[in-house]
Structures are given as C-alpha cells and as structure tokens.
Symmetry: C2
Subunit: 429 residues, 2 copies
Amino acid sequence: MVRGRICRLLVRDVRFSTSLGGHGSDAMHTDPDYSAAYVVLETDAEDGLKGYGLTFTLGKGTEVVVCAVNALAHHVLNKDLRDIVGDFRGFYRQLTSDGQLRWIGPEKGVVHLATAALLNAVWDLWAKQEGKPLWKLLVDMDPRTLLSCIDFRYITDVLTEEEAYEILQKGQVGKKEREGQMLMHGYPAYTTSCAWLGYSDDTLKQLCTEALKDGWTRFKVKVGADLQDDIRRCRLIRNMIGPEKTLMMDANQRWDVPEAVEWISKLAEFKPLWIEEPTSPDDILGHAAISECHNRVIFKQLLQAKALQFLQIDSCRLGSVNENLSVLLMAKKFEIPVCPHAGGVGLCELVQHLIIFDFISISASLKNRMCEYVNHLHEHFRYPVVIKKASYMPPKDAGYSTEMKEESVKKHQYPHGEVWKKLLAAQEN
Amino acid sequence: MVRGRICRLLVRDVRFSTSLGGHGSDAMHTDPDYSAAYVVLETDAEDGLKGYGLTFTLGKGTEVVVCAVNALAHHVLNKDLRDIVGDFRGFYRQLTSDGQLRWIGPEKGVVHLATAALLNAVWDLWAKQEGKPLWKLLVDMDPRTLLSCIDFRYITDVLTEEEAYEILQKGQVGKKEREGQMLMHGYPAYTTSCAWLGYSDDTLKQLCTEALKDGWTRFKVKVGADLQDDIRRCRLIRNMIGPEKTLMMDANQRWDVPEAVEWISKLAEFKPLWIEEPTSPDDILGHAAISECHNRVIFKQLLQAKALQFLQIDSCRLGSVNENLSVLLMAKKFEIPVCPHAGGVGLCELVQHLIIFDFISISASLKNRMCEYVNHLHEHFRYPVVIKKASYMPPKDAGYSTEMKEESVKKHQYPHGEVWKKLLAAQEN
C-alpha cells in the first residue's frame, strides 16, 4: 500500500501573535506567541498525497528549529517511504543518532523537536496513503509491526520488546467494543482555556461560566508567579465550579523543590487533582508529581522512581508516534494513567489520535484519565478537533490531522507573512 | 575596571575535518568533524579588547547552534558590560529563561550550547579587561561576587547560597600555597589521544609508546562498539602501560543498562579506574558510573543518587563558568572528585582554567583528580595549552584562552573557507 520516494521537503516558520491577548501565558512563559515549525513532505507517487508535520514552539527560536529540520533533511530526502516505514526503528535511530548531529542533543531540545516535526509528517503521509486516521492505522496494525516502530535503546531495563508484545496481545481483548465506545462517546477532555495566568479575574469568571454552560467538568489553572494571587484565583474557580468538579494546577517549572513543597501546601485547600511541573523538567528525584518530559529515558526513570502519579505525553516534544508508543507501553506496565498535554498549535489535533489508540489497544481504561483541551487556533487546521460534551470525538479523515490551511500558513509565516509584516511595522513606529 | 557597551556580535561556523583521520571517533560518533560555533564580542571601549567564546560541536548541526546564538543575540547587544557582570545571575537567568526561547530547551541541547558560547565570550572579555587569566580572575574574586554569578534555581534543595559561601570561605585557607603549587607543577592530566576507536592497533601501539616516552601515566581508551575488539585493545594497552599506570574507559552512551553491566564485567580484568558514559546521559537511575551532563539539575541528582564516583564537567556544554561554578561547589559538598572533560576544539584551553581554580579555591585536593587532555587542534589557538610532565601549566595570558587564530578561522569556516571549498569540491567529483 505504501508508495513513493520523498522528493521534496519544505519547512516553514509559522507564528500566531497570541501574546497580544495573554493567551497561553504562565509563570515561566509570560508572552508566548504560539508557533510551529511546519514540515511538508511530497513524494513522486501519482496519488499527489502530502505528509504534514509540525512541532510546537513559543515564537522566538522557531527559526532555530527550522534550521535543525533542514540539518536532518538529508536523512529523509530521496528515501522510499516503503523503506522508511519498513524499518521504522532503524529510520528513527538514524535521525536521533546521527554521528555528528546527536552531539547537539541527543534526543532533547531543538534537534528532538525537529525530529518530531519530520516524523509527524511521515506518519501523516503513511496514514493518508492507507486512507485511515492515524489512531485507526495504529489500532489495526499488528503488534509486531507496531513494535518495529519503537527504538528500545536505553529502556530495556524496564521494558523489553517481549514484554511490550505481551501488553499489546492482552490489549486485543475487547478492542472492538472499546473502538465502538470511542466512536460513540469520545475521549474525556479537560479545559485549560479559562485560567491562563495573564487573564484578569473578570475574564476568568466569564470564561468559567461559559465553560460550565458547555458541559465542562474538569479545569486547569496556571499558578506559580505569586502566592496570594494564586490563592485568590484558585478560590474563585473552586467556588464557581463547586466541590465535586475536578481542578488541576500547573506551575510550569517555576519552583525550587523546597519552594514547591511550601507553595503546594498553601494551595492544597482547593483540592487539586495534580500539580503539574512544580520544578525543573530534568529533576527526577525532586519530583513528587511531574509532567511532560523530553524523551523516553526521562519518563522511564520517573516511572521507576515512582515520581509521578499522572503521565503527560506530548505529541511534539517526544520523537513523534514512535517514541510516544514506548512511553504508553511503559505507563501500562507501571499502571500510571496517561493524561496528554495539549493546546499550543495543533497539539490537540495530534495527541487525540495517540490517546484514543491508547484506550482501544493498550490501557483499556478511562479511570483517572483525560486529555487536555485548549480552545484556540483550531480554525487554522484543515481537520480541526471535534469536541462533544467535553469529549474528543475520534477523527474520521485520513492522516494525523496535522495539515494547516494554506491560507493561514501564508498569512502567519514569520517574518514575511501579512500578519507579521503589519505587526513588525507597527513595532517599529 | 569593567567597561564598554557590547556593540557587535559575530558568530561563525568553524569546522575541522578530523573525520578524515579517525581522530575523535568513538562508539556513537564514528566520523566527527571537530567544530565550533565561535563568537566574537566587541565593545565601544577604547581599549579595543574583544571577547572570544565558543562551544564545541561535531560538524553537522554547527549551523543550528550558530542560528541559536543569533536568536539570543538581542539579550547581549547594546548591553553595558558593567551591567552584565554587575548582575551576572540576572543576566544568566535572562539568557536561559527567555519566555519564548526556553521552550526549545530549557537549559539543554542547542540553546544551552549557544548560551555557553556567548557567556564564554563574556568571561573572556571580562578577564581580558581585568588583565588576568580567567582562573586568576576567579581565584582573586571575593566569595560574594563569585556567588552572584550563579543561578541557584532548581538546586537549593542540595546547595543553598549560604552553604556555598561557607565552602568558599573554607577554601581561603592555604590558597596562596596552592596557587604556588599550581604555578610550579601544574594540574595533573590524562591523555585520550592514543586510543580513539577508529585507530588501528599499530597506530595505537605507536601513540602509546610515544606517550609513555613523554611521561604520561594515565590513559583513556574508547570502547563499546564490539566486545571482542574492546578486549583485544584494552589488553594491548594494559600490557604496554603495565599494571601500575591508570586506565579509563569511555563507552560514549553506547549501552542499555543490562548490556552495560555485562560488558563492563568482561572488561573488568583490565582494571579501569572508571567507565565513562555507559548509557544515556539522561538516565540517572541507570548509572553506576557516569560522565558529562547537560546542566546543573542533572548533576545535582547524580550526586544525590550517588550515581557517580567521578564528576566530569564540560566548559562548553554547561552554561559557561557560571553553571560550572555551581557544579564544582556541589561536588565539593558531596566530596566527589572532579575530572573535567576536554579535547574537542578548545575544551582543554578552557577547562584548565576551571579546574585550576577549583583546586586553589574549592577542592584543595588532587586525590583521584586529573583533567583530560587530547593533543590536537591546539595550533589553531592564540594561547594554546602548555603541558609539562603530563600536567597542565596555568595559563599566563589575560582571558579565557578562547581566542583562535584569525587565519585558522578563515580557512576552516564552513562552507566557504578554503579548506572546505576544496573538500566539498572533491566530494562532488
């Protein structure tokens, strides 16, 4: 089924000026412009299908990720797609272990984000050629093929390929029913859109009221900049949503370990289900509860050290579907609920595929599980998420939902797109 | 004393074609072209002094680091040097916690390497303006000023500023004598130049013979690609150097944890003092012995977890002198000997300053301590290292020894320098 030689790779720097409205603001990122390094792959196949991939960034530095995608491009160009997906583990290893490029990573930061953008495009292309949404491609794939996409390097001490195979085999039981359940009810979501740090109390109240009206029952609030401010905001939200609904908090790496312990004790009265990213993402031993990480080796240790109670995967920080698969399998082994990170640019569109697949084929449980949702920038995507009754409805279109509207891309390209030309000119005046 | 506004920042991509001779080759990096992103800072002061800084890379990807330096440049340009070093902690924080750029790090990979190159240039400039070699600038600096260069974020659970102050105060005792000792005898070094993985047995024998003749007593060998090959090479070296001399091994992140345990047990008969980088640099819990890391948060945990017996700092992977200071202080608290990583491009030139300062002002001990040495590319530096009787002699010229010869830079600039023009033309034919 898979066909064509990759004959063109285009990567673009696309930025949305979200900082103007305080959207996405938190204790460490006060003025993010939600952005993406956006990759398009073309093949010489006659079907004309293209693969779209992206990684999420915060504005400045997107050009650095674009530069890294170009540095990796020679691994992709002129490759036959059959050879790539036929030995996807080998291809993943080639990208992440390039003898010269791995020095400026390895498997972290800029080069890993670039790897994610590239591989996300490959997965999108593969799913499109198979005529399936990505989650369905994964659900229908036989376990051995699935495992052949995963690089087990550095994790075999907690998960061998045979153990992973057993987990997937067990996941076959009841798969059809769970797929039906997803198609009917979708995957439970929570919203982060009401309580960015830069929002005024009035905005917060208004958004909270609307969200409650729309049926949301789970809310996340940004904290960490000022304790008194946090207490006031958390009280306000807890009062509005009542004692039964779920509240999460996110400190975005703001605290040192002792500071985190003290701060969290002051916020405990508002009964958060979790406190996300209390400190440095590199600090495994310092974590009592933790969030997204940059690769499977970090996740492995967080699981080993019992340093997390919820595991938040990310579709664009980890090495695409390949590395996320290994983390989903480790989470299953340790029986830790996966609650994906989303929002940004396209993160909701992408990660819904992974978590729906996880439910159908791996975790088989919704207990304590939900997927983050943020309600902006979806209008720029060709296949935007569909939320019904605070749940993600499984995508029906073929691919990884990564494709953006060409018009949006053109307008928001940095620095020469129409939007940025105006903004930059205004800044100069 | 400090003066001038930074009015120009130039960054260049300089590459040496070391892969042609197998120099620098190891189990994970089979064909490195030792390279650097090389920064030059100019001020508007009348002294005409410039600050030179670099970070080490392996060829491909240097352009990505150059791009990241440019992304950080606005934090440096038009700043008064007095303001920078007067609040160096704040300046460090500004570079590493830029609200948009930290997303593509934070404090790791490409952006952290770029930060190191920039800050190394600032330190070089500062030391030059003071008319002192960097190690002497640090030795003479009062403890409070020294500490004001360190960002304690994320490490206060193991080292507070007050504890660090006490360590430095204690280090005052006997300082003069230790400085005299350094000036007389230098800092003990070990050599990695004899046994790169790509060298033939004959080359290895010849280089080992020469090194013994030159008075070297400590040797490092690269391992990890093939066990039988490793056994043969380690036996050869151990036989040549005899049972009393010191042998270290370096696997450069080649193994999974179980694989490392098995492999190491097979090499134990050759009595290595340490096995460096047996597995992923991110794997704290998996390490029995470990090596260089990407930031102070990782080092903190390695110390907490007692996962290392030797600590190898790096002048270009960590955030310059600032972050290395925090690691040296933590190592002192945990009484772990520091044996710096060197080699590459300029790493010997830079790190000698740090380890000589460490001996004089912090560790006050040479027990189990030595600094790596590799004997190539020094000819491109204006103030190359001086080795006497297998020891680093303290640099006497003002600055951080970071300045390269302009002629070398021009020739090796990628891709338009003379050397690369020829090589790339030859590749095309």
